[in-house]
């Protein structure tokens, strides 16, 4: 009995302390997590139990691609997009484990990207926190936190990887106050945030992008350099399969379209497909022609699908799942049905608010292609043909029919630079037959031409182009590891980037488009892309001779794969490559020379970055006469 009172007191004290620390955690937690605009694992836990028939997991490749709301609207099947940024397979595994404690999905769809992708180490902690911070405490969260702490400190060189730091990292995933206690930017909002915001996800985890890109495909994106299944996938994918088998759940791997190399390079897809199919699991490449044809306008500004691409992906994947897994509309309670209806209204309202209406038969987008104005509309499900009308200028009454199209786009090639046009479409069949859509005005702008990107001798980069005189130009630059482009506006036909603002020996992508203002609105041409693998001219700092050998020295260069040394013997016409050495070297001694003879040398550097490999311009030529002693 003597021990009982202290135990009770201990319990009471622990409860009190827990309440206080929880309140402090809620205050200190950074409020960068906007539930309705980003990946929303937190919202999953608000869904009523055993009401989700399809669970989807993955990275942004999944949550930007699949909308549970649009699938419910069309097919009446409930799902949840339980994805988050850069979701590794370990997270996918523990998420599924946790999900199965409250849901009984018939099908689980895992997006394929993180079978192979390695994450930017600089962003790893941020994405881990996204994944874990709002997961309720459970054995699965502890398991994921343990795995996360183990791998995080090993992969991030800026953090020491001692056992002590791993223990602290692990503890901080269970008790986030241990991570965020250093915050000095607290505000009143921090105190009221959780009282004023809800975790509920109207999007049901699928977060549309309201933008579109004007780029060519094949953008460099070097998050994985080797075409192999990554270590996390090798460990956890079999465990995911086992988990699904044990629970009688069908597992599907889907590859979502992605504007980076992963999306367009089939050699990457082949590796992932082979791996997945070796487990007897279907691999559905949604980029493959038999499923869909995703165009430029289906993508947002960066690499993922926008809301239109999302709708295409959602409907196609939904059809695949219904056909192959006999999915039926999910019976729901009245209350839950009302919630889903509310979500549908939210998605449509939100889209409209962002200027991207999802209404069928509605003119959705117009943008410039290389030699055409592309008109796009939201297709009506029961109509296979549309008539397109165009007027020059703003007067719709002068519009004439310029063509018909099946599908949802029409390229108007009969256009003149700097001329504005008004378009509308009319469905020829179905419920909306004869009803013209809204109209949209657009100005065709010709693309810049002769876009060239080079590294200057001093290491700075320069992009030049030609273009129409009445245009100004938008230049965008992206460092290959960055997520966004930085942008400039200029009327000049070149752009110089200072050497101090760039990383040596690494890859940059430039995007140049022409633009015109018409009545206060800017219209851009299609962009032209150019990659520059930055390499300034190597600088030889010295050349000397002694002991029948010549030594060349040069300024250190960063991020070079190798240095090539070229030599020309006196009297010879051509230089020959005599040696290739490591890129971190700053000198080379040539012993294959004869005393008394003159030799000339120059060097080049070779950089490799994100799959691109280039040899630099040569250095200046230096000569030396070989001395015996």
């Amino acid at each position: 009995m003597k021990i009982v009172k202290p135990i009770l007191k201990g319990v009471a004290f622990t409860l009190l302390l827990s309440i206080i620390l929880t309140a402090l955690t809620l205050i200190y937690h950074p409020k960068w997590y906007n539930y309705q605009d980003k990946g929303q694992p937190a919202g999953f836990y608000q869904e009523p139990k055993n009401t989700i028939d399809v669970l989807l997991l993955g990275s942004c490749n999944m949550y930007s691609s699949f909308s549970p709301v649009l699938m419910y609207e069309r097919n009446g099947i409930t799902s949840y997009n339980f994805s988050c940024p850069d979701q590794e397979m370990s997270t996918t595994y523990y998420y599924i484990k946790d999900a199965l404690t409250r849901q009984k999905p018939k099908v689980i769809v895992v997006e394929a990207l993180f079978l192979m992708q390695e994450t930017h180490t600089g962003n790893r902690e941020k994405y881990n926190r996204f994944a874990l911070d709002y997961m309720p405490i459970s054995a699965n969260k502890i398991g994921l936190a343990w795995e996360t702490a183990r791998t995080e400190s090993a992969m991030m060189p800026q953090y020491d990887a001692t056992a002590s730091s791993r223990a602290l990292t692990f503890a901080s995933y269970i008790f986030p106050i241990l991570r965020y206690h250093n915050r000095t930017d607290l505000s009143n909002e921090d105190v009221t945030y959780f009282a004023e915001n809800e975790f509920y996800s109207y999007y049901k985890g699928g977060v549309p992008l309201f933008s579109y890109t004007r780029n060519d495909g094949n953008r460099t994106f070097a998050v994985f350099n080797e075409k192999t299944i990554n270590d996390s996938a090798k460990k956890y994918f079999p465990m995911i399969k086992e988990l699904c088998d044990k629970n009688g759940i069908a597992l599907v791997v889907a590859k979502s379209p992605n504007y980076a190399r992963w999306g367009h390079d089939d050699s990457y897809t082949a590796v992932a497909r082979e791996y997945v199919e070796s487990f007897g699991i279907p691999f559905v490449d949604m980029h493959a022609p038999q499923y869909n044809n995703f165009e430029d306008y289906d993508y947002g500004v960066d690499i993922n699908l926008n809301v239109y691409g999302m709708r295409k992906f959602t409907y196609t994947l939904a059809d695949y799942l219904i056909e192959n897994y006999n999915l039926q509309p999910t019976p729901l309670s009245e209350e839950n049905t009302a919630k889903w209806e509310e979500s549908i209204a939210w998605v449509y309202d939100r889209s409209l608010g962002k200027g991207m209406d999802l209404e069928q038969g509605h003119l959705a987008q117009i943008f410039n292609k290389e030699d055409a104005v592309c008109v796009r509309w939201n297709p009506c499900l029961d109509c296979g043909e549309y008539s397109i009308y165009r007027a020059e200028g703003h007067d719709e009454s002068t519009a004439v029919k310029i063509g018909t199209a099946t599908g949802e786009t029409f390229d108007d090639k009969d256009v003149t630079h700097a001329q504005g046009y008004t378009y509308y479409v009319v469905p020829n069949h179905g419920a909306k037959a004869g009803q013209r859509s809204n109209s949209m005005y657009y100005v065709f702008v010709s693309m810049p031409t002769n876009v060239v990107g080079v590294t200057r001798d001093d290491g700075a980069m320069k992009v030049t182009w030609d273009g129409e005189e009445d245009c100004y130009f938008r230049v965008y630059r992206r460092y290959y590891k960055a997520l966004k482009f930085s942008a400039w506006l200029t009327t000049e036909k070149h752009r110089d980037i200072n050497a101090t603002d760039i990383k040596e020996g690494e890859l940059y992508t430039f995007r140049v488009s022409a633009a015109i203002r018409d009545d206060g609105v800017e219209y851009q041409s299609k962009c032209v892309l150019v990659d520059i693998l930055q390499q300034g001219k190597p600088v030889i700092t010295g050349i000397s001779s002694a002991d029948s050998a010549n030594t060349v020295t040069w300024e250190a260069m960063k991020n070079r794969e190798s240095i090539k040394i070229y030599r020309r013997n006196a009297g010879a016409e051509e230089f020959a490559l005599i040696k290739t050495i490591g890129g971190d070297r700053t000198s080379f001694t040539d012993t294959e020379v004869k005393p008394g003879k003159q030799y000339e040398y120059f060097i080049t550097s070779v950089a490799e970055c994100a799959g691109m490999k280039e040899e630099s311009v040569p250095s200046d030529v230096m000569s030396v006469v070989t001395i015996k002693n």
Binding site: F13, L24, Y159, F170, L178, T184
Partner: protein, 499 residues
Amino acid sequence: MTFNTVEFLAFFGLFIVLYYLLPVKVRNPLLLLGSYLFYAYYSPILVTFLAAVTLANYGGALLIERFERGSRGRRAVLAAGLVLDIGVLAFYKYFNFFSGILHQIIGRGGSAVTLRLLVPLGISFIIFSVASYLVDVYRGTIGAERRIWRFALYVAFFPKVAQGPIERAEHFLPQLDEEHRFDSEKYRTGMLMFLFGLFMKMVVADRAAMIVDTVYADLDGHTGASVLLAAMMFSLQIYLDFAGYSLMAIGGARILGFQLKRNFQQPYLASTPAVFWRRWHISLTTWLRDYLYIPLGGSRCSALRRHFNTLVTFGLSGLWHGANWGFVIWGLANGAVVAVEGDIRKLGKKKKGGECAEQKASPVRSLLLGILSFFILTATWVFFRAQTLAVSLHVFKRIFTSLLPRTTLKAIVAQLALGKTGVLYGLNVAWGYPVLLFGLLIVAAVDIAMQKVDLPQRLASEKLTWLRWIVYILLICAVVLFGVYGYGYEAASFIYADF
């Protein structure tokens, strides 16, 4: 694992639960197991070192007792034991230091022979503990411990093995006979001490360290006044760090029902350096007094011999702290100060007819003496922090040749004016300094109060449960929120930039 780590707190929390849940007779073996696990966490292989030292000294003490008191054999065994103990310490800790000195003396080219060894955790504390045990057995102060597991626990007891206090066997071993049933008062006292020690270390000491490290890393980039501030801050840092850790050790032991000797007694409230040294790292200073200073002759000898004894004791104390000249000079400097103070005191006694100057000092005089004492000690701490003579001299040079107080003040004011974005000596102006200053005030207030009353004991009273809970919560929240641990937080790195 140090006390201020997640893994230790988890280990200790679980250990306490297990300790009190298991039957009484299992507790000591559990403590021994826990202590060895604690040591193994540092380095599994060095557990063999701990075991070897334990066995050697256990056997050595038994062997000593086999010989008659005063016999040659008894002396020889003691000598052999001490040579072995000190030899092991010297080998691990001082080989490279003395090798460097030898190399300089011999003057040949090349470099000194150095060994890259993993120094056993707490080696200085362990060796001093077992050496004192051997001497005490030799002197007959205590009998040799016959049960090896009890001796092993004395050596390895995890609250004290890493950083002391240096516990005497005669004080510790009898406690192993107690049942250590759960005692609420001991638990509460221990918890208060542990938490306050954690606060001292993590909130105040580690924050002060940021200032010290910033200035010392770039002495030429700071004015003399800044360097002086950093030097003074180090005086506080070393106290907060060490005393905080000791408090955690003592508190942790108390939670388990053990009493360890107090190691610090508000040393900066002392009015003179000599008094300071009676209050600072008490377990070490008493060890040195009992096993070195007094055997050398202590103060009962000529003035010259007394000074010699003092210098040797302090010099070796410096060397004990670390294997470089900075520590040795620090020790010798303090020895010199204490020796000179002794002479002044003697002179004062002669003049005032034998009355002790300190006892008669007025509060104002005590305060002024205390301030002077602080500056004298700060000057000696410079050698401790700088660790080399060259850097120490550099510090003094900056202070005395480039003080620039007005420039310093302007720079401080300019940073203060920046508010949230201001950074002064590596510490944020809006958050770091208020926490530091408030922390220092709290520690000072507690130290002052502790001169009159045993605060943890008082707060442990059943009647003060709510006050005690408030103190617990405030200390825990202070450590969690303001402790210096983990990675820095930068909002930009967490703002989601569209994946």
